[in-house]
Symmetry: C2
Subunit: 244 residues, 2 copies
Amino acid sequence: MGIVTSAMGVPVPMAIESHCDECAIREASICEVLDAAQLARLRGISTVVTYAPNAPLFEEGSEAQHVSNVIEGTVTLYKLLPDGRRQILGFLYPGDFVGLALDPTYGCSAEATTVVRMCRFPRERLEKMFKDLPALEHRLLEIAGNEIKAAQEQMLLLGRKTARERLASFLLVLSRRAAARGRPASPVDLPMRRSDIGDYLGLTIETVSRTFTQFKKAGLIGLPNQSQVTLLQREILETIAEGN
Amino acid sequence: MGIVTSAMGVPVPMAIESHCDECAIREASICEVLDAAQLARLRGISTVVTYAPNAPLFEEGSEAQHVSNVIEGTVTLYKLLPDGRRQILGFLYPGDFVGLALDPTYGCSAEATTVVRMCRFPRERLEKMFKDLPALEHRLLEIAGNEIKAAQEQMLLLGRKTARERLASFLLVLSRRAAARGRPASPVDLPMRRSDIGDYLGLTIETVSRTFTQFKKAGLIGLPNQSQVTLLQREILETIAEGN
DNA sequence: CGGTTCATTGATTCGCGTCAATGCAGGTGG
DNA sequence: CCACCTGCATTGACGCGAATCAATGAACCG
């Protein structure tokens, strides 16, 4: 493996690879809309980089030099208040897109939750490529639309749902997401810590923990270990998540 | 003026006009990136519609037939939980864009807050036009990026800020928005009701009201009437909004 | 084995929600 | 012109859900 942090504390990728022939997520990423020739051009400007867990990818307000696709692992996007309060905006999984193509500065910070491999494009070069590959821009607009919808759902959650409703919603989203990727819908993986879940749902660690045990005692979920949840009563969880 | 609601309760536009030569918001809307010839094509598929206050524009989950630009008035976007809890996702002002171009169903509901005039495009026809006018799609991607950033800021507010911080943030955003449109930054207009502010900030009417009077007593704002706020101590409000 | 990190659980506090009353402006009809 | 409504905003009293503070457990690791 490689360097994770330079002598000056500046984060740098752990490792840099190069190709995308056997890319595991190609059909889920921005490349899916391109034919072979176009893909070759895109590959020309892409680099695969690897980050260690907890490595910062970029910080809010800094110049957005790259735009990336997650290939492996999960990435946490968040914003901070000056006193340290944190709001996690999302957890990105393989296939997810990082960095708005057209904005020259990042609106939030990002760090690797697990070991992360990403396919990275220099933002400016990608942008120039839009002129020749309108399909690429179309695809990004599609992705942006999905993100907006997800953000709106999250605003409903943060503004109006109770702790129980938030956690139930969270578990179901993870479960559906896993199913959509061909993974089992039920033992749901939680690659993040309780504090991350809390910061994502606008709750404290303690409330997250208490709500987990409450669900467990009610027979709605099983907690085989800290990072897995079995959904035992999916329908009841769904009712809870919708606020009934 | 025209019909506001048909006999069957189906909402229909109050009035329909036609041109966009003296459009007040052209440079702020999606049209700004087009030259005269392109604009003529776009105009060909556009209609100006007017809605009365409280008229519903569309409902979550329904088919997205149009995509529009607000010309005049303000629009409220929101989501509901089955028991009636409401989260307002945003207030749209002249120049703002309604409806993600690429999604065939609406992810939220919308209604007119005031009298509203909008420039409306049939979604499918607009989409077809993308092929010839890539600049249009580029502009939409830009708009989507701004919306994502705003949504992220709002998630921070809803998940982590206190009532005071939320209201201060809200007033400042409105003030900056007004200034950016060449209006005075200080007596801020509140075209929406207290309950709308509450549903936008994830608070109750009462908390919004109490926080207003708290700010007023502290000399931070003035409340000449129910729908206007004078920002007397902008810097202090800014400190509060950032969480200090 | 002690140290570190994270999760759980309990006791208590507190900010905001809930419930209820009052105020206030605009509109309508007598 | 006034009495009365209606819709909103304000204010107060009280309660609750989640935060805070604090202790204990559990897993992992050098």
